[in-house]
């Protein structure tokens, strides 16, 4: 099996095929008496060109689910597919190449390399992959996130919101099949957070990007097209076209 080659992430959005599929996903840390079941047989799929949020109380396994979906962590059993590539059973090298070619990441903090400028950070995934940047796309992305006059700055010279926008731009630039965002607004004030979430939503609407976002913030989740809820390592509920209130209500029910 190969994971390299032509990756037409954005062209597949019309097909309606899911971008990411997980079947019977379990993840167990430790063994015997001390074993912790972080995921207990999760079946979920994420539609291409959609913005999906994963929610759940602390310890529900939402971050673990994202790590397993993104090939950052190995699964104990079950299968994960990104596009037409089966992740389970791939070696570290193949997983790395897969991430390089098909996945974009936005983390809560420490998204950027402090030695590189904003522009270099944005282009980093392409350079690692040895691909040429599409200048038209670059300009469009930079324009969208409003970073034109900040490109030459180092991360320490950027505000938290600007840093996350650089991370969004970086995730978009390689046209990945899916972007995984792990609490992307967790460290931001509400205004910067709203900005970043708008960029994420508009990239789904305008560019057809697929995004999977882990969050515990109902407002953040309301930017998504769909919210899936996790509790104790299992999928328990989901909402289409969520509002903050609806998300909050569902969470309250789960906590109860």
């Amino acid at each position: 099996m190969t994971v390299t080659g032509e990756v037409g992430a954005w062209s597949a959005r019309e097909s309606g095929a899911p971008a990411v599929v997980a079947e019977g996903l379990t993840k167990v840390y430790g063994q015997g008496d001390t074993a912790v079941h972080a995921l207990r047989g999760v079946d979920v799929s994420f539609a291409t060109g959609a913005f999906t949020a994963i929610m759940g109380p602390s310890g529900s396994g939402k971050s673990t689910l994202m790590h397993c979906l993104a090939g950052l962590d190995t699964v104990s059993s079950g299968r994960v597919r990104i596009g037409d590539v089966e992740l389970t059973g791939l070696g570290d090298k193949q997983l790395t190449l897969l991430r390089r070619e098909r996945i974009g990441f936005i983390f809560q903090a420490f998204n950027l390399l402090p030695t590189l400028t904003a522009e270099q950070n944005i282009l980093l995934p392409l350079e690692i992959a040895g691909r040429q940047a599409d200048r038209v796309l670059f300009d469009r992305v930079v324009e969208t996130v409003g970073l034109r006059d900040r490109l030459g700055h180092k991360p320490t010279e950027l505000s938290g919101g600007q840093q996350q926008r650089v991370a969004v731009a970086r995730a978009l630039i390689s046209k990945p099949q899916v972007i995984f965002a792990d609490e992307p607004t967790g460290n931001l004030d509400s205004r910067s957070g709203a900005e970043v979430l708008s960029f994420l939503r508009s990239s789904v609407r305008e560019l057809g990007q697929t995004i999977v976002m882990v969050t515990h913030d109902p407002v953040a989740a309301s930017y998504a097209d769909r919210v899936v809820f996790l509790r104790d390592g299992g999928l328990v509920s989901e909402l289409e076209r969520p509002t903050p209130q609806a998300v909050l209500d569902t969470l309250m029910k789960l906590e109860a």
Partner: protein, 838 residues
């Protein structure tokens, strides 16, 4: 606080070990030096004491006037000693020259062997290692070293030349151990009965008289009465004092070796101090939050300072202890190697003297704690609030004015001293000033290091940036990310590389300079000289050489010492047999100016006498009375191998008679193979046992070999400090890896493969290594040039490019090796775990 510190140390055992190793290696080297030299000295002292026990009183002649023959005690002195009351027995020892002939019939070795008497009975101090002492005029013994070198065994017949170069044969009846007498070890010796020793060496009287006291007479009592009987002009010592004096003289030799080795030990400790300083600095930076937390819960600045110092005390003690063990092992190992190389060493078990233990602990502790003081101080500056910050701030380095001014002061002082030294007259003083200047410049670089790292890493990183893609570029950026840390890490390596380059360039320069001088002084293929430089060769030998068709331009040099200038100063007055090809280079004019009644004079002689070209100089000759010679030209003795005052050949014979040749220069005729020419020279020299043939290629290769040997030993000793600096690189990298855990995880998430991550760290280490090496090479080359300029005039400066490239390449490679473990750890880390960790 103590418990916190110890718990911290326990938690980081591996890092503790790495850090300790740097100090342990340095302390180990120093301790090893002491173990080795102490053990050797103890062994010799034991032997000397044993030798001293055999005699009660020893008598030596006072050293005579300068230039006189070896002073001796007259034979009558022995009779006087024997007449003293309270004496049991007295013996005289004879010592002179008696050249042993090798199995090829030529005088053995580069120097004629000594001829000594082996006294009989209880006073024989010589240790017979095999066989027996000589009992009559037909028997002789050899020292073990000489016998082994020339392949003689007990029972063989050996041939020895007497003072008049007449050959005598002896039966070899025993081998003796002469390792206590450095002079005899150097020349080798043949031992005879006293009478034979006199007749063979031509010596008169005794070199030394030994005496035993009668029952009930003390050493000091006998010494006093012997001294009274002999009067002035002699030194009389008790056996005990004699042994102690010998041991002291030997100890002085050992001290030179000890000092030399300690120099390398100190360099290693200096490098270790840099490594420790850096390590503690990083530890403090890394534990900022820990420190801040301690401050939050009420620890004072003093307690934080104390905890770091305490940590360094523990590290210092542990590593010094480890170093002492290492030193004991090194010393014992060196002894084992030396004795397996047949170096004559007394058999004593190596021991750690209390002084060695104390010194090792003190040095190790002082260096470790001293290096940790500055980092400890910076730890006290951590504000309690830092505990609450989530992200470790990138430290931005700014070039401070103090730094620039301090560096400038050092640089100006160092460069000034160097330039001043270059205009000083050639000599040791100038060399010392150059070295002082070099040290100042080095300190300027040390201070300026953080400023230099940026441009240097850009320069060194130019190739990796292009060669290794993203990992290469990130590595270059990382290498200058913390300029202070990178600078200290690389400077540690610079120390070793600078000294190695210095030595390599100096030996290279010495080699070429010597070679050029050899061409001028030894402008011939072969040189025939008597084994004993003071003696002469028969003129018939030169005649024979001239008659051989394979050879050409045979020039014989001869000389005699005579008073020149009429003021009592003596110089060698000499001549050479003319040959068409022999054109010694003079400062003015040509050798054709030399006519009867004239002389060419070495510049130093002319200077001493205050004469110049055209002046007349009186020379007191042996056969023609005092003659007045006109100086027609001067020459530089380094460029022309002529006697200080050189006169025409026929005139020389008239002045001094038929003096033999002191050396003969011979060239192979064009087109004659080396083997054939050499065979012709050897054949001509064969009838003359003391005539030694040397070829320029042999002289050169001997010189080359000894230079190579020296270079190898010094480079090996400096290797230790390079090794320590590599520990520093490994330490710095592993701590950087630790600091950048999340960064590495991010890169991995973005698609950097494990090998790429490893490569990134290797390239970073490579860059650090290369920066250190480049600065070292630059400094080493410049100062080798300056040092060579102060050592001799007209140097042919030579940079052994290949060797230096090898140093640079090895430094880079070593950096990469140092990165292996940290890189592995970084690549193995789980992405998810690393992203989560703070």
């Amino acid at each position: 606080m103590l418990r916190t510190t110890l718990a911290g140390l326990r938690a980081h055992r591996l890092r503790l070990l790495l850090t300790s190793l740097a100090i342990a290696l340095g302390v180990g080297f120093i301790a090893g030096t002491f173990v080795l030299t102490d053990t050797i000295e103890a062994g010799f002292t034991q032997k000397f004491a044993a030798a001293g026990d055999r005699i009660d009183v020893a008598v030596f002649p006072d050293s005579g006037r300068r230039g006189e023959e070896e002073p001796s005690l007259p034979a009558a002195a022995l009779e006087k000693v024997r007449g003293v009351d309270g004496l049991a027995e007295a013996q005289g020892l004879v010592r002179g020259t008696a050249a042993l002939l090798g199995k090829d019939g030529k005088a053995a070795g580069d120097r004629p062997t000594s001829g000594i008497s082996i006294p009989e009975g209880r006073l024989n101090r010589t240790v017979i290692a095999g066989g027996a002492a000589p009992r009559n005029g037909g028997e002789a013994v050899l020292d073990e070293g000489t016998a082994e070198r020339h392949g003689f065994k007990v029972g063989d017949t050996i041939a020895v030349l007497d003072a008049k170069e007449v050959r005598h044969e002896f039966r070899l009846v025993g081998l003796v151990d002469l390792s206590l007498d450095q002079e005899l070890v150097y020349t080798g010796a043949v031992g005879f009965t006293t009478g034979t020793a006199w007749s063979m060496t031509g010596a008169e009287g005794f070199h030394e008289i030994d005496a035993l006291a009668a029952e009930g007479v003390g050493q000091e009592e006998l010494r006093a009465s012997v001294a009274a009987a002999l009067g002035s002009g002699v030194t009389v010592k008790t056996g005990e004092a004699y042994a102690a004096d010998m041991a002291r003289a030997n100890g002085a030799d050992d001290d030179v070796i000890t000092m030399g080795l300690l120099m390398f030990g100190l360099v290693a400790m200096f490098v270790a101090a840099l490594v420790i300083y850096n390590t503690f600095n990083i530890l403090v930076a890394q534990r900022t939050r820990e420190m801040a937390l301690l401050r939050c819960i009420g620890a004072t600045r003093g307690q934080v300072f104390g905890s770091i110092v305490l940590e360094s005390v523990v590290v210092g003690l542990l590593s010094s202890g480890l170093g002492l063990l290492l030193g004991y092992g090194l010393g014992a190992g060196a002894l084992a190697v030396l004795s397996s190389l047949d170096v004559p060493l007394p058999a004593v078990t190596p021991s750690l003297a209390p002084r060695t233990i104390a010194l090792g602990l003190v040095i190790g502790l002082a260096v470790t704690v001293g290096a940790a003081l500055l980092p400890a101080r910076s730890a006290t500056r951590v504000a309690p609030i830092a505990a609450l910050r989530t992200q470790v701030e990138e430290r931005v380095f700014r070039t401070g004015a103090v730094r620039v001014v301090a560096a400038a002061l050092f640089l100006v002082a160092g460069a000034g001293a160097t330039v001043a030294a270059l205009s000083m007259p050639v000599g040791q003083a100038a060399l010392v000033v150059v070295m002082a200047g070099g040290s100042l410049v080095f300190f300027a670089l040390l201070i300026l290091g953080p400023v230099l790292v940026r441009p240097l890493s850009a320069f060194v990183g130019w190739v990796p940036r292009r060669l290794f893609g993203v990992p290469g570029r990130l590595a270059t950026d990382n290498s200058r990310r913390n300029p202070k840390r990178s600078a200290t890490t690389t400077v540690a390596l610079t120390v070793g590389v600078t000294l190695m380059t210095l030595i390599a360039v100096l030996t290279g320069t010495l080699r070429v300079t010597y070679s050029a001088k050899l061409d001028e002084q030894f402008p011939v293929d072969y040189m025939v000289q008597p084994q004993d430089r003071g003696s002469e060769l028969s003129r018939a030998l030169a005649e024979d050489l001239r008659s051989r068709p394979e050879l050409t331009s045979v020039v014989a040099l001869r000389g005699a010492v005579a008073e020149v200038g009429g003021k009592g100063a003596e110089y060698e007055v000499g001549t050479f047999t003319a040959s068409r090809d022999f054109r010694p280079s003079l400062e003015s004019g040509s050798i054709d100016l030399l006519k009867p009644g004239t002389a060419v004079v070495a510049n130093y002689v002319a200077e001493d006498l205050g004469v110049k070209v055209g002046d007349r100089v009186p020379v007191k000759t042996a056969e023609a009375g005092t003659v007045e010679l006109t100086v027609v030209a001067l020459f530089d003795p380094q460029r022309a191998s002529l006697s200080g005052v050189t006169v025409p050949e026929a005139e020389f014979d008239r002045y001094f008679g038929q003096v033999g040749d002191s050396s003969i220069m011979v060239n192979a005729r064009d087109g004659v193979a080396f083997d054939r020419a050499r065979a012709a020279v050897d054949a001509a020299a064969d009838p003359y046992p003391t005539a030694k043939v040397a070829s320029s290629t042999e002289v050169r290769s001997e010189f080359d070999e000894s230079l190579d040997m020296m270079l190898m030993i010094i480079t090996g000793l400096l290797g230790l400090s390079v090794l320590i600096s590599l520990l520093g690189i490994a330490n710095t990298l592993s701590l950087s890896v630790h600091e950048r855990t999340r960064e590495s995880a991010l890169l991995r998430a973005l698609g950097l493969t494990r090998p790429q991550l490893r490569r990134m760290l290797s390239v970073e280490a490579l860059i650090l290594g290369l920066i250190g090496a480049l600065v070292g090479v630059a400094l080493g080359v410049v100062y080798a040039w300056a040092a060579a300029r102060t050592m001799t005039t007209d140097v042919s400066f030579q940079v052994p490019v290949l060797q230096i490239l090898a140093f640079v390449a090895l430094s880079g490679l070593a950096g990469v090796v140092a990165a292996v473990l940290p890189a592995r750890r970084a690549a193995r880390a789980s992405i998810v775990g690393s992203l989560a960790s703070g």
